[in-house]
Assembly symmetry: C3
Homo-oligomer: 140 residues x 3
Amino acid sequence: MWIVQHTVTLAPRPRGVHLVTREIAAGVPELDRARLGIAHVFIRHTSASLTLNENASPDVRRDFEAWMNAAVPERFDWEHSLEGPDDMPAHVKASLMGAALAIPVRDGRLALGTWQGIYLCEHRDRGGGREVVVTLLAQD
Amino acid sequence: MWIVQHTVTLAPRPRGVHLVTREIAAGVPELDRARLGIAHVFIRHTSASLTLNENASPDVRRDFEAWMNAAVPERFDWEHSLEGPDDMPAHVKASLMGAALAIPVRDGRLALGTWQGIYLCEHRDRGGGREVVVTLLAQD
Amino acid sequence: MWIVQHTVTLAPRPRGVHLVTREIAAGVPELDRARLGIAHVFIRHTSASLTLNENASPDVRRDFEAWMNAAVPERFDWEHSLEGPDDMPAHVKASLMGAALAIPVRDGRLALGTWQGIYLCEHRDRGGGREVVVTLLAQD
């Protein structure tokens, strides 16, 4: 078994939900020779998150954003409001979705289901580039 | 250290929350000889999910389902509605609960707490058999 | 590659959200010599949870608790109410936040972002000491 780790900086995106499967896989060239393993993907931020969901319809991603805004509204009796109205909701959403994914690897590829893709959830209005650490534990 | 990976197809279940700990453990015969490790359990779908929770009372699982239906209602201004009223809520619920679990392994068993069991959350009215990939990283 | 596993019992905390990064890291002395790896942190309970979030402002943690209490209220048509009004909401919150974290390790440290810390979410009014299993997979 071997282990490699890479830092991938995702391109900045507007607030919303974005497919980043290819961008992440491209950051780990050793994936090709991983016959069996686990890829762990970790975002080093507290106002953006990672989840797996439907990789085909942009309307699913828009509905995700709409639901999150309804469930964690900017209008709430937040105590932590110094960094803007989008900040505290961003923290809560980040924990709801999670900072990390672990995905099985088989025959040099992420063993995702047909309809699964990696979503970057950008919870800030202007979050900037987001740093992701990808750790691959695998065997040839 | 060694690594094995199995695909387990869970029996189809109706919409709701179901205990599947035994069904999943039975799919990994090598668990017996894993003295120390991690078992990673991954569902290859975007409208069903996995979580850990109370393994004794069926009413907890019914309350889970009731709360999820209240928090992610079918009546919402969903844009993605082509696949039925249960589809888009299923996607959101799937990300709330998550597609994967990693569980410590010790002395040939999942090192779950006394009250912890693996829940399959079936978010579709008729989801069919669900495919789960179990990856075990361990040492004898 | 090597693997070690430790059980850490966290000091009892009142209901709410608490920073436990140092308490957890201190429970894994081998972290020092892990050049590259993954630390998996797993809580063996169904009414407390672990998440990563902002490590600086106590008001963020109070807002977390306030939002969770609004999203998963004690006043709901819960069927499972035998163990007190805080019990069933605690189960739902535990699955929303999650029982486990996996964190990349680099050069003998958890490779957290600058603002990330490990939150123990204590969902019960009086939860007592909470048992956490930390598994470190790493190489020197």
